[in-house]
Symmetry: C2
Subunit: 351 residues, 2 copies
Amino acid sequence: MKLDIALLAGDGIGPEVIDQAVKVCDAIATKYKHEISWKPALTGAAAIDAVGEPYPDDTHEVCANADAVLFGAIGHPRFDNDPSAKVRPEQGLLKMRQKLGLFANVRPTFTFPSLIDKSPLKRERIEGTDLIILRELTGGVYFGERGRKDNGNTAFDTMTYTRAEIQRLAKKGFELALTRSKRLCCVDKANVLESSRLWRETVQAMEKDYPEVEVSYEFVDAVAMRLVQWPKAYDVIITENLFGDILTDEASVISGSMGLMPSASVGEKTKLYEPIHGSYPQAAGKDIANPLATVLSAAMLFEDFGLQQEADDIRRVVNKSLAEGIVTEDLSEDAKSYKTSEVGDWLASNV
Amino acid sequence: MKLDIALLAGDGIGPEVIDQAVKVCDAIATKYKHEISWKPALTGAAAIDAVGEPYPDDTHEVCANADAVLFGAIGHPRFDNDPSAKVRPEQGLLKMRQKLGLFANVRPTFTFPSLIDKSPLKRERIEGTDLIILRELTGGVYFGERGRKDNGNTAFDTMTYTRAEIQRLAKKGFELALTRSKRLCCVDKANVLESSRLWRETVQAMEKDYPEVEVSYEFVDAVAMRLVQWPKAYDVIITENLFGDILTDEASVISGSMGLMPSASVGEKTKLYEPIHGSYPQAAGKDIANPLATVLSAAMLFEDFGLQQEADDIRRVVNKSLAEGIVTEDLSEDAKSYKTSEVGDWLASNV
Ligand SMILES: CC(C)[C@H](C(=O)O)[C@@H](O)C(=O)O
Ligand SMILES: CC(C)[C@H](C(=O)O)[C@@H](O)C(=O)O
């Protein structure tokens, strides 16, 4: 297969972890005789510095024309505590999601047998966890009208959803549930929010089209609790953008290491793959960041193109690296740990 | 002291747990020669059934004229899956908070030595946790404009804050931090939301008035993660209404039992005390609900009236009941457990 993959390294540890995923993908391509053509492009604070814009049109062109996007991370602390900054890296992320139509963020949460004791949660609570959160990614309060009034003394953001947006995401949820244990949980705050009531009524109306799927409805506050109490109670969760942001990060605690959790963001056309850990500026440039989440995101990429063996190969070699302790310092039990680049090299030469 | 306390039992297990708190308060009153006059009033689904309104004016009168309010829970499942219901119990709760001006919800999270192994989190992560979340309770998306457009196919909610609302809550946070370890964490989503940017800039501007307090700013998604990873990293957290709703419920997992977590909601005048567990309809009427959260909420009440010894007494007897296993079934290790009413009787006769 011939694949054009847009390569958006972004900020912080983005470039370092992306490098390792590229090594692994190239090794897979060699092994299976695929041809990957990487198309690097600027994004985030890096793009602001270079061209004054966190998601430049050139970058969008590259992404829109690629078969898929592999993305590192966006964000830089120098913007975080400056509420008056005019241009922010995150705007690039949101613009990218919107312009590429990436309406569904797919975040699996699972445990690694060899890492289970790293979790802050007790083994018996999490062993066997296998859930997927489908987060709506191009609507809600992220994209509603916002602004100031009263000389800047009042601020507002609008959380808004259309029935069509909800249906589109929920459809993916129902379909995903059909391929798994056929349980779907819709998470909202329908006891307070009108947009949540639209979510609930829309999903309820779709139930009849998926008679095999057992649907439950839970409030976001209750789920924030139950997700760490009994993660095995969940299979597929669908939810709106902001709730998804919070719950997916919370869920990442289960696995014991954020550094391992991949994600995919999908739309009608483009698909984007990224680690969930973000730019992690404290570690940037030190060659210590864990590249596995990005490598596992690449596995999701291959899988989505029907290249199951390739995906399995990547997961196998990742598990092998964990079992043999070829890991970065965040995962190493003893004094011995490996650099980001060393882990990447090891994975690439073992696929 | 003479205290008029409005008694809002509400729905589900509300009446049962409230009964036990009343017993304990009466016993304290007898012991310390206080005079408590209980003023019962209707609220929630119970009030809808009786008078068609979840927070009737009569009830408001009772609360507004009382020295404090002791509140059970609100909510009934028959409203939850009916997005079209015109009147809902929760509206009563929101109206009550607004009309009584209860702008700050104070939720302590701590562990009980005898229960620490009930937590889904590992002992070493949580032992010694002692944090307080101050949730803004009368603003944000709970009270902004909401509605439908396009023949009901678009729904919106507005998250809105004024500088004054933020200052009022943050002031409480700074003051609370001064009485504790002097660390304050402001939780927002300032990388996306305009209202969060107003939060951040307002709190930043207040820092100079509290030079001793060390303030940090974190994004809500990161906190949803860190709160269960390293709860001991937090001392006082301030946050807006919806984030507070989610994070306080999540934090309740730390203690290992929601059934033990009290809260206070305070305003300029009225103060309201309630367990955080909600109406828990599955257990309603069975005399099995854990009354300790309500009893400990009453301890917060005494404390806020300067009656520290009374509060300490209640906490001591609660700890004693835990140590001696005089507990409801949710906490009992072995076959032997006690009814809600039995636990209440035991506590009252042991103060
Ligand atoms: C950086 C931020 C804008 C972003 C979000 O909130 O969507 C991030 O937290 C994520 O989850 O990808
Ligand atoms: C019942 C509901 C409206 C309420 C809220 O969201 O505030 C509850 O979850 C709470 O935290 O007191």
